[in-house]
Amino acid sequence: MRGFGKVIALIVILFLIVVWILPVYVMFSASLKPLSEINSGNYLRPPTELRTENWVMAFNTLKNSLKNSFLVSIPATLITVFIGSWSGYALAIFKFRWKTRLFFSIAIVTFLPYQIFLIPLTRLIVDMGLFNTFAGMILAYVILNTPMAILITSLFFQTIPKELYEASSLDGCTPTRFYFSILLPISLAGITSAAVLTFTNVWNEFIIALSLSRDPTTRLAIPTLAGLKGSYVAQWNMLMAGAAIVSIPGILVLIFLGRFFIKGLTAGALKE
């Protein structure tokens, strides 16, 4: 029975792999086609000639903005996750009166489509004199993403056995030291989850990035990518090449942070 179950599982998984990879395949194959081939339809057919210049052109257009996106996404993610876990820690572990109410208050504010905040947020950034600066964009993204980070980390921190904390405070460990020396290393898995999600949110964001930057030196990757499409011109091939390029840092971050998952696993064992 178990062997049969495994076969079924494998078939299902194979099917899933095909479904999951298909769009990516289409993206890559479209990125190498000339425009006429894309529009004459059959998306599944591999390109008859490899137009690598699509990639070259896309990369040239994107290279500055990719750098900018890094300069914004990484600090934004680090700051967000730090503040998020800092407050999430308190929310999860300390006992105090309005805990549940505070919890819900965060949850609520994470629920809105961020376009609503566009107008007041732009005004805030402008008033602070941070318009068209990396600092301004980082601040905007930190504001938008911290609640979610608080939420995720606090829920992961719930799983830390309270005895650990009691024991350490008996040993004279202050809450702050606990945070840095014990909590962070143990909850690497939860923290990296929050980091991955924040990073992808910030990296892929469009409208705020568009509004808060004014010149090519500060523009981020996704708005530049969208620009590859054109208003009356549809250069799908370049867009797909650009899309593939823009998604590469994301997957690199995932792989890189994935290593921390494993660390978290071993640290969890230490927890026992």
């Binding site: 950034i125 990396f134 054109g230």
Partner: protein
């Protein structure tokens, strides 16, 4: 961690540039031929004013929908660019109403645009007696592009009005039932309106067209409007049924395309996919009788509190001249509004006909892209038309349009159009 903070601070300080004169300009010509065109324009501008640094912000989104979103935030926050692109008419009016623009009558008069532009253009940029933008590029929305190879094969001639269009559709369907005579891609919602506008012009003529879109027609009871929708319904069996799954360029790019009502901006696309004019495809203005020029105008504005107002003024003067307009429009695929630009600078027949008609035929502003009726109405209107294409109930659609016009106060908001008659 500390190093990171310092790095961020340093970077943000560097972003406050200290430079001589700048021109911060927002537009939506982000790719392909349109990008080449605007770059050429920048090149020429730099030659004329070498000490002005151009800081461009191309924001993608046809008709400037995304640009408008971004601008709303910037204008409300008091950070206008030095100049930005806008369509004319009701679209421009929203900025004027928000009190964000400065009048540019002085530039208009200095460049003698009363002489060089057709009078309708002034109407489209004048509100409360002042000019608020400088137009520099014209597209025409009512072209019927058709598959010449196919037409030659079947011995067909391009239709001149909506009755002939129906005839041609019937013939094509008879001889080649596998084809869909009318290509349509309503993932770009405006294409549904383009098609209807062509029908409306053919059935009711330009005067009724103008009145319709400015709310001066009793929609529910007007026999011409009703007839236009009846014709529109008659076309449905000949329209590609899955139109909402494709954009206009996808629809046009297919090998089995037959006819499409689209603007002259599609010419560049045809060339990009390697089709030969006169062999693979040809185009006629539609309807040919009465010969109307459905105009789409691109303009640039002068916001209040622009940081580099002087540069912006220089830019506006610059784009109103014949030579820059000529260079720009050749690459862009549009035509220049300036009278002094000769017809034969345009390499393709389509645009040469455009220029002749622009200077000779009846010009009417194209409805969509927020030019005649207010954007709030048009945004809803597109969907009304598309829903009609899926379920053609003429009485219901008349009612819906009437309600929408009343709700969005189309008549009041279009008074400006008639103010300058």
């Amino acid at each position: 961690m500390r190093k990171l903070i310092v790095l961020v601070l340093i970077l943000s300080i560097f972003s406050f540039s200290f430079s001589a004169s700048k021109l911060v300009i927002y537009h939506w010509w982000t790719a392909g031929g349109e990008k080449q065109a605007i770059n050429k324009l920048f090149e020429l501008f730099k030659k004329a004013y070498p000490d002005i640094e151009i800081v461009e912000n191309p924001i993608v989104g046809g008709g400037g929908t995304t640009l408008r979103t971004v601008l709303m935030g910037l204008l409300a926050a008091g950070m206008p660019p030095d100049t930005f692109q806008s369509l004319s008419g009701a679209d421009l009016k929203t900025y004027v109403d928000g009190n964000y623009l400065q009048p540019v009558d002085d530039i208009w008069n200095a460049q003698k645009l009363d002489e060089y532009f057709p009078p309708l253009m002034k109407k489209m940029v004048t509100f409360k007696g002042h000019v608020y933008a400088i137009p520099m590029s014209i597209h025409r929305a009512n072209w019927l592009m058709y598959n010449k190879k196919l037409f030659d094969e079947l011995g067909l001639k391009p239709p001149k009005n909506v009755d002939e269009l129906l005839e041609v559709c019937k013939k094509i369907k008879e001889k080649r039932p596998d084809l869909w005579p009318i290509s349509l891609g309503t993932r770009d919602k405006f294409t549904a309106v383009f098609l209807f506008d062509a029908v409306l012009l053919s059935v009711a003529g330009p005067d009724v067209y103008e009145k319709f879109y400015t709310g001066r027609i009793d929609v529910r009871n007007n026999p011409l409007i009703e007839k236009a929708f009846e014709y529109y319904a008659k076309l449905i069996p000949y329209i590609y049924p899955y139109h909402s799954a494709q954009t206009w360029d996808q629809a046009l790019g297919r090998d089995d395309w037959v006819m499409m009502v689209i603007g002259d901006f599609a010419v560049g696309y045809m060339m990009a996919v390697g089709r030969k004019y006169g062999v693979d495809w040809d185009a006629v203005p539609f309807p040919a009788e009465p010969n109307t020029f459905l105009m789409i105008v691109d303009t640039f504005t002068l916001p209040k509190k622009a940081k580099n107002e002087d540069s912006a003024r220089k830019w506006l003067k610059f784009i109103a001249e014949a030579e820059p307009e000529k260079e720009f429009t050749i690459l862009k695929g549009s035509i220049a509004p300036h009278k002094l630009v000769p017809v034969d600078v345009y390499p393709d027949e389509v645009r040469r006909i455009d220029v002749k008609d622009f200077r000779g035929a009846r010009i009417v502003p194209s409805s969509i892209h927020g030019v005649l009726a207010p954007q709030s109405f048009l945004s809803e209107y597109q969907d009304i038309l598309i829903n009609f294409l899926y379920s053609p109930d003429v009485n219901r659609v008349l009612r819906q349009i009437d309600d929408a016009m009343k709700f969005y106060k189309v008549k009041e908001n279009s008074e400006w159009y008639w103010a300058m008659k």
